[in-house]
């Protein structure tokens, strides 16, 4: 290990020490479901980065839903939620659709969508948004693995989030997990819903794996989102046992493993 790395580690330790010292100022949010909340000591830290990945390209809708649900849990009611993405995200995964967001539980009046031409601009706009008082939550959706989203940039985001006590949610579509300053990291798959009757699809269900947690244990749950009450409930497997997946593998690898 080189000296520079040791230096960085020392800084990390000092940083971590500070984190825990000023813990009393921190606020937390919860899932509203005991099974999940029990793995966090006090709950999910509000002023922090929470990162959400889609397990496969087709799970973009589920990952989007999960991140909005988290933002709704974390943000004060009626506070604005800002969504920062790149210009071309619209073509790739569609635009956030107001009527659908309304159905999902997010009042569209609260949403501000910011489009940027580069991923650097996304991070800059996100940083500015995080530092603004009164912001409910900031959803940052850079496409794929931008070079600029490195340890330093994510650390900067984390610091801003901590200072303002505003949650930052990183939506990573088309990306593979890499090391950064995120406090929790989730891998989301769509999961079969409980039919709401007459063979119709029911409430959204997520197969959520917590693959990194700075505050405690990791885990995997089936979570159902109640859009009217804004709560997660533990879902029951619908048909047959779930196929277990390894805790983490990049989407590319998985595709080759299953052969599609």
């Amino acid at each position: 290990m080189t000296a520079a790395n040791l230096e960085a580690l020392r800084r990390d330790i000092i940083f971590l020490g500070k984190t825990f010292q000023s813990n009393s100022l921190r606020s937390f949010f919860h899932f509203g479901e005991k099974a999940v909340d029990s793995v966090f000591r006090e709950g999910l830290q509000r002023g922090a980065i929470h990162e959400v990945f889609a397990s496969q390209a087709g799970d973009a809708g589920a990952a989007t839903g999960f991140i909005i649900a988290l933002a709704l849990r974390a943000a004060a009611s009626h506070s604005p939620i800002i969504w920062v993405e790149e210009d071309f995200a619209e073509r790739e995964n569609g635009v956030p659709y107001a009527a659908g967001l309304h159905d999902f539980g997010l009042a569209p009046e609260r949403l501000i969508i910011v489009r940027c031409s580069t991923s650097q601009d996304v991070l800059k706009a996100a940083c500015d948004s995080l530092g603004t008082a009164g912001m409910g939550a900031v959803i940052i959706a850079p496409w794929s693995n931008p070079k600029c989203l490195d340890l330093t940039a994510s650390r900067k985001l984390l610091l801003t989030a901590q200072q303002a006590d505003t949650p930052a949610f990183l939506l990573r579509l088309g990306a593979a997990p890499a090391d950064n300053a995120a406090v929790t990291r989730w891998m989301i798959r769509a999961a079969p819903s409980r039919s709401s009757g007459a063979n119709a699809p029911g409430h959204p269900v997520f197969d959520a794996s917590l693959i990194r947690n700075r505050m405690g244990m990791t885990g995997r749950w089936l979570l159902e989102w109640e859009s009217d009450d804004h709560v997660f409930k533990l879902g029951k497997p619908v048909s047959g046992p779930l196929v277990s997946i390894p805790s983490y593998r990049s989407p590319q690898e998985r595709r080759s493993a299953t052969g599609n």
């Binding site: 390209a57 087709g58 799970d59 973009a60 809708g61 589920a62 989007t64 839903g65 999960f66 909005i68 649900a69 604005p80 210009d87 619209e90 995964n93 569609g94 635009v95 956030p96 659709y97 107001a98 009527a99 659908g100 967001l101 309304h102 159905d103 999902f104 009042a107 569209p108 009046e109 949403l111 501000i112 969508i113 910011v114 489009r115 940027c116 031409s117 706009a125 500015d128 948004s129 603004t132 008082a133 009164g134 912001m135 798959r189 769509a190 079969p192 819903s193 007459a198 063979n199 119709a200 699809p201 029911g202 409430h203 959204p204 269900v205 197969d207 989102w225 859009s227 009217d228 599609n260």
Partner: protein, 478 residues
């Protein structure tokens, strides 16, 4: 046949005139120097000159052909009086090789007539009433610019000047030569006003600085901007208004003009915020402000304002926070462009893609909760997708029974086997819209075996003349 479109002073003196056939002119003068007329370039030049004239007054109107009308009311003291103003215009334009005829008068019609048909020049101007009347009386009849038939009628009656016509009884004049002739006379003598139409939005209030020495350093320019922002804010405060649209205009010494416009989401009254927005705009320019020879005039004008209420600080700091969010929206809009900072806006229509459009956040006022989805019943799962595709993406659907939900479909090269389905929800096109050739759509909510939820539709109906309807994915659910 080629005709002369314009002649210069020398040619006019030699007897050539506008509208003359080129062959006739060539017959008189063998070595005539001619060029093809370029009306479009002429107009472009005129527009440029009009822009340049902005330095004298923000009220500049184009007066076809080849004319400009400047409303200098209240601006004269800035230029040291009428004569100095005209001399300045003449001197500056002469340097660019442009020959100018000009006049200043109490109304635009008189100034125009004096410049075009009178002696023009500096001597032709004058605001004093009696002198002006004398000058106008001496103008030829053509300066009335009435129809050719009426003009020759007036001439036949032995009238030669505007003065001859003006003394005639008006009733008879109207009866014989039309209301237009009388109107023209009235306009000349300020008995009835003909408004001019300025090319640009007339600023509601503005502040400007004229520099004795052109400014070249960015720090100095920013300093001036800061002072101007302060003055503008003062003026706005006095009017109990806030700026929604502000324009900064930089007049470079060599005639180049740069305009920067900023729009804000809510009325701005604070000089500090205004300055921050201006700086953001300056920093975001893809083509940065080039001082070159230096700026000799800098102007800051509020183009659009809105009444502001005197604010009372509330007990919770909710209003303050809303304010901060507004400032953030303004800053991002200026940095990224207002088309990139958006808010969903509710539109009362059943067509899904039109029901929720995204509009620039600086334009939309935060509306009260709209009825985003009329069909939503408490306790029901979401009826509309969380992300929507524009345009809808075509899929290959296979089904067991026609006119029902597909059993499976292929989208983006992946096959989805449908487990749960709900539908159809029939949405008919809005036939009253122009060029609406859209077909009726049947929407289905589908869930595949992996738990992914889709919103797909079939365009066209089976029972009607559409044997091969197309299928599309319009959105994805959470």
């Amino acid at each position: 046949m080629l005709r002369l479109m314009a002649v210069d002073e020398k040619a006019a003196a030699a007897g050539l005139y506008r509208g003359m056939a080129l062959t006739d002119a060539r017959a008189q003068f063998e070595k005539l120097d001619t060029a093809f007329a370029a009306p479009r370039q002429d107009n472009a030049l005129l527009e440029k000159l009009a822009d340049w004239c902005d330095r004298y007054t923000p009220l500049v109107a184009v007066d076809e052909p080849h004319g400009l009308i400047l409303d200098v009311t209240g601006c004269l003291h800035l230029h040291g009086g009428e004569e100095k103003l005209l001399r300045d215009i003449h001197a500056s334009l002469k340097r660019h090789g442009i020959c100018v005829r000009s006049a200043i008068a109490v109304n635009p019609a008189a100034a125009r007539a004096l410049a075009r048909y009178g002696n023009g020049g500096i001597a032709g101007g004058g605001i004093a009433g009696a002198d002006l009347k004398q000058l106008l009386y001496r103008l030829p009849l053509t300066s009335l610019e009435v129809e050719h038939a009426h003009l020759s009628g007036l001439k036949r009656a032995g009238l030669l000047t505007v003065g001859d016509v003006d003394v005639l009884p008006r009733a008879a004049l109207t009866a014989r030569f039309g209301a237009r002739t009388v109107n023209r006379l009235d306009a000349l003598f300020s008995r009835h006003s003909e408004p001019i139409s300025p090319r640009r939005i007339v600023p509601i209030c503005m502040a400007e600085r004229r520099m004795a020495e052109p400014l070249t350093f960015m720090e100095a320019i920013e300093g001036v901007l800061r002072e101007l922002a302060g003055e503008l804010a003062q003026e706005l405060k006095a009017r109990v208004e806030g700026a929604r649209e502000v324009e900064a205009v930089f007049f470079r010494a060599d005639g180049n003009i740069r305009r920067l416009r900023i729009e804000t989401g809510r009325p701005v009254t604070d000089a500090e915020i205004l300055m921050r927005l201006l700086k953001e705009r300056l920093a975001s320019l893809s083509d940065p402000l080039d001082a070159g020879y230096g700026f000799d005039i800098i102007r800051l004008a509020a183009l659009r304002v809105e009444k502001t209420m005197a604010r009372q600080t509330s007990l919770d700091n909710h209003a303050e926070e809303t304010d901060k969010i507004g400032t953030l929206v303004d800053r991002l809009s200026i940095r990224l462009g207002s088309k990139r900072v958006l808010r969903p806006v509710f539109v009362d229509t059943h067509i899904p893609e039109r029901a929720a459009i995204l509009e620039p956040a600086t334009l939309t006022k935060v509306a009260a909760a709209a009825r985003w989805n009329a069909g939503d019943v408490a306790g029901d799962p979401p009826q509309r997708p969380i992300r929507m595709f524009h345009p809808p993406e075509p899929i290959e659907a296979t089904f067991e029974i026609p006119d029902a939900a597909p059993a499976q479909f292929v989208w983006r090269k992946a096959r989805h086997i449908i487990v749960l389905a709900e539908g159809p929800e029939r949405i008919a096109p809005e036939w009253w819209r122009e060029n609406s050739r859209a077909l009726t759509r049947d929407y289905y909510r589908l869930e595949d075996d992996a738990g992914r939820r889709f919103w797909v539709f079939r365009e066209g109906l089976y029972e009607r003349n559409d044997p091969d309807p197309k299928w599309f994915v319009h959105g994805i659910f959470a």
